[in-house]
Amino acid sequence: MKLLNHTSKYLAILLVPLITIWAFIFYYAMLDEIYDSLDDGLENQKILLLQRLPTNPEILEHTDLELWNHSITPISKTYHDQFTERYSDTLMYMLNEKDFEPVRTYETKMAYNDVYYKVKFITSMVEEDDLIQDLVTYLIVLYAILMITIVVLNNLMLKKIWKPFHSLMAQLPNFRIEKNHQIQTKDTSIVEFKLLNASITTLIEQSRARYLEQQHFIENASHELQTPLAISINKLELFLENTNLSESELNTMASILDNLGRLTRLNKSLLLLSKIENRQFTDEEMIDFNQLIITITEDFEDLASHKHIGLKVESIEQLHFQTNKDLAIVLLTNLIKNAIVHGQQNHTVTIGITHNSIVVRNYGLEAALDSNFVFSRFKKISTDKKSTGLGLAIAKAISEKYRIELSYSYTSQHIFSLHFPSVS
């Protein structure tokens, strides 16, 4: 859930009890005020009545409460002395409403010319049920208006306020340390966002610096290894020429040479990988992949036939794509070599080419490989000690460089597919 809706949600929940409690308080406060003013009015009527009485003695004959809104009844002195005036609520039939409606009554006493009277005043009162109904309706409307205002304000204002944050969030998922992406921070006057921007910029700069340092370390280490490797290999080659060795001694020498060769290949692969990632291959040309694959498979024919594996190129359509030529060769070589090295005897490695894809298929282990690790560095699929474990990682790095999609799947054959982006 978005942060924006989150605050709105909590406000919506919180507002319900808040408005309810407020409604109760408001209702009773208002009712209290109404009673107060009604009672004042009734008392005022009594004073008016007493004032008019000397000039209008017929008032004393007003006994019909419903007609005059007051009634005067003579009472005994004893009753008069014991009587305390009181206000009360009661129901009275209203002709217009054709229903009993609440009325406020005020019962009091008076003495006039030594005669004692009980006087009762009434006045019509608010209809509480109507009041409550109205109140509830208006509160629901208020609640709705409040919520709409909050959501709209949140969406407009908060969106604006959180802009620097959202702009960062939109960029971070696409950030790749190996690519020279810059994170653009938006200027802001909000302290927290300023801090966030500064922290992220520093974090990225530092990480990239470390990453480049590491890349250069790998590159430098590989370079530094080349000369001692060259010296060792060449010394051994000269030694082998100059000395007559027995078969077992030759075997040992061959093994040393082989291992130095492996070391050289591993070193070259590491160097290549860091060079691809450091974007050192900038030259590009239009490559005829059909022709290139035919050339590469020619180089591999002997290896394949030595392993009793057939090699078949199915050029269904022509594929031309702009890449660096050396990298195109490495990419296809690694995929085809991988298929042959891990291929099964007496089966065929098939390379299919369409206008936007190259698919390399080989029979091998009868189980799918873990596609999460197929392209990882130093993940060796077989126990083959001569593979560097970098071939597919290099293929992946090259395909990513050119936005070619390299994927692995298994359906009775191991399938490595390259999907080329359409040229715009």
Binding site: Q226, T227, M253, T264, L303, K386
Partner: protein
């Protein structure tokens, strides 16, 4: 043939001198920028092997100095820094070839030989070895005057072995030279044996033989 090796790593230099002297070249050396500059200024060489990372200067500057003085010595850049930029710059400055370290001795011989052939218009010349004659231009091979048909790989193997005649050529050197740099990660170089076998069959009337050096490689011998 006179060669100059410019290389600051003493052991590397010693290996190269040793192997090239056995190919009957006259080999001179320089191990820093200054002495190298002096030597190329005073003497002419048929081929210069140039390391571009020198302690007191860049080998590419030497190449520039050489070319600007109008000299036409063959130059092979030898570098531990197999960088595309260096390779391109070197070739643009007029180097004949670029050989990244580490390399096989057999490959060094082949590259030097190729440069010398180009320099001295030997490309058209027929190479005779035993009763075998090879015409590099047309890639034709004759045994006792009778042409034999070799496929591309067989021809490349034969030429490589001839260039390194009587010397050990390791299987990996041969594989990388003939099958390309990218074959190098193949799981075994045993696959080259079938081409050797075919080549031997085609050379059965020749006075040269391809001998296996157990487990290590091959050697071309002249009977």
């Amino acid at each position: 043939m006179k060669l100059l090796i410019i290389e600051d790593e003493p052991e590397m230099l010693e290996n190269m001198v040793q192997t090239l002297e056995r190919q009957h070249y006259v080999v001179e050396t320089a191990s820093d920028y200054k002495s190298a500059l002096h030597k190329i200024g005073v003497y002419d060489y048929d081929c210069i092997l140039l390391d571009i990372t020198l302690p007191d200067g860049n080998g590419l500057e030497l190449l520039k100095a050489l070319k600007s003085s109008g000299k036409d010595d063959g130059v092979i850049i030898v570098s531990a820094k197999d960088s595309l930029d260096d390779r391109l710059e070197g070739l643009n400055l007029g180097a004949d070839d670029y050989l990244p370290k580490p390399f096989h001795m057999a490959e060094l011989h082949a590259r030097v030989k190729a440069v010398l052939r180009r320099r001295h218009f030997e490309g058209n010349q027929q190479i005779n070895i035993g009763n075998v004659a090879v015409a590099p231009e047309s890639r034709e091979v004759k045994v006792d005057g009778n042409p034999i048909v070799l496929n591309r790989k067989e021809y490349d193997i034969l030429m490589y072995l001839i260039t390194n005649k009587k010397r050990l050529v390791t299987k990996s050197a041969l594989a990388e030279h003939v099958w390309g740099d990218h074959i190098d990660q193949a799981d075994s170089f045993d696959f080259i044996y079938s081409q050797i076998k075919n080549l031997r069959k085609k050379l059965e009337h020749a006075t040269i033989t391809i001998e296996a050096v157990y487990g290590v490689g091959y050697k071309l011998e002249v009977m």
